[in-house]
Amino acid sequence: MSTLIIEPNLPRPDDFYQTLTDLHRDLSDEQSMDVNARLILLLSNHIGDQAVLEQAMAIAREHIPAAE
């Protein structure tokens, strides 16, 4: 089974981070949500591995306590 990379893997982290935040500059919350959704769909398709995606999804919300 493939595993999600959780060690640093971006060659130029500051460039990436700026591109990501620039992407949302001047967008309303609603537009940002739409852009994020499209981005997630594009990246998920690129990854193309359900197991890896599930690991990422689990980490993405692990800090939120499970509902009672």
């Binding site: 949500m33 739409d34 959704a37 499209r38 997630i40 769909l41 594009l42 398709n45």
Partner: protein
Amino acid sequence: MFKTYTFPEFDYVRSADQDTAQPVKHPVVIVGAGPMGMTAAVDLAQQGVPVVILDDNNTVSVGSRAVCYAKRFLDISDRLGVGQRIVDKGVTWNIGKVFLEEDHIYSFNMLPEEHHRRPGFINLQQYYLEEYYVDRINSLDTADLRWKNKLVNVEQQGDSVLLSIETPEGPYQLEAQYVIACDGANSKVRAMCGLESKGQIFQDRFLIADVIMDPKKFPPERWFWFNPPFHSGQSTLLHRQADNVWRIDFDLGWDADPEEEKKPENIIPRVKAFLGDDVEFDLEWASVYTFTCRRMDEFRQGNIFFAGDAAHQVSPFGARGANSGIEDTDNLCWKLKMVLDGKAPVTLLDSYSPERTFAADENILNSTRSTDFITPKNHVSRVFRDAVLNLSRNYTFARPLVNSGRLSVPPFLTESALNTADTEMFNCKVVPGAPCTDGSIVYNAEDDFLLSNLGNQFNGLLFVESHTDLTADILQGLTELAVQDVPVKTFVVASHEMELNLPEGSEMVIDKYGVVKERLDAQRGTFYLTRPDQLVTARMRRFDKEQIVAAQNKALGK
């Protein structure tokens, strides 16, 4: 009144069973003459099992219900002698198209392969389907269909069931060895057994309208719109039925008032906005529905079996209602026949509920996912849904995520205790627990189809490429299989025309285009064993009589 259809009125006929002091006992009583009660009745009666069918009404399904019948439904209806009438009257289609706003974004094909007897789908109003099944039942001496016979009570008594029935001439009682409850979504039998069907109701309402219009305007395809210009923010489905009647589904949202929406003065402007001012149409029928996905925990209680909507319900996106109901009765009837004839232990009946609840779960899962896509549950789901739709205009990757209904295909019963697991490698879609494939064959020097010849009994398929493949051992084995208490009739699938000296009980078919071999990943010598409902139950690379008998015993619950 309907313009295109006249509803038959069937006569109530007094039965001799109403005049006896003691309830008369029947091997099988079926409650409900909807599609599933009738498929069960035909299946049993044509195998010689006498059946009584009770229905509280005296006509066929009134108004807009099932439209789409899948290939598997047609294959089973062929076995039941009704398939050709459905296909002749129905509208054949294979292509579905999805639109977003004004644009066509995606198409799918329900039958990407050639050389099947039946298409991916047929559309036909449910009342025609029911009428054809009523005719078929009336042609069978062993089926006794009793209109205006309303079941009011059931009671399990040891090894049989006591049924209390009301008729226009007063009540009477019947005893049944087995009961099949096909009395629909609000099953009285289920309630009287103290059982429930559990699941979820979707918070949405749909206007379903059948309109008559000129067929030249739209092709026989399934067209689904997300957020169409004529019905902003919602979805719409258009589908052609027989007699130039078209089914239109409008998603109305949860806040719509069903009573208001049902009024013709409110429906007609919606349809006009959709079709345009230049298209003339007549309204045939309309109704407003909410949809539910739910099932019973078990489809059996003692000697009572539940099938069709009584056992499980799905939202219609995917057309999995009647299409899965017929698979229930297809699954149950041969087992009842074997047990009633004493050819299989009663424990064979234990396999019905696990096989069909497994299938129901797959149908409910698919139907729930479609409904959630069409009617997103919350804001973020809608954002993702709309992102998928918008991306799918220009980016093919998003198109498989678009879900306007995953149309009915038979769930493969891969977990069934009746299957014999593969011990050798096979590389094809068909697996133990799946219906056998169809394919063009030549049989008795005539063009034919494989599935038209399988079923009602155990069948073998033995693949050969030369007469020398049939050794004396194999011929001996085929003979023995054919004369067993529960015979296996083998079709020797020849790769080309050849002279074969086959024993009684085996017959040759020629694999006309080689598709049977290819679809079953067969090689010279491969053997497949199918059940009376055409499901593959075991397969092997070399004919081995002992293994075949063991697999058949397993499939008989021995």
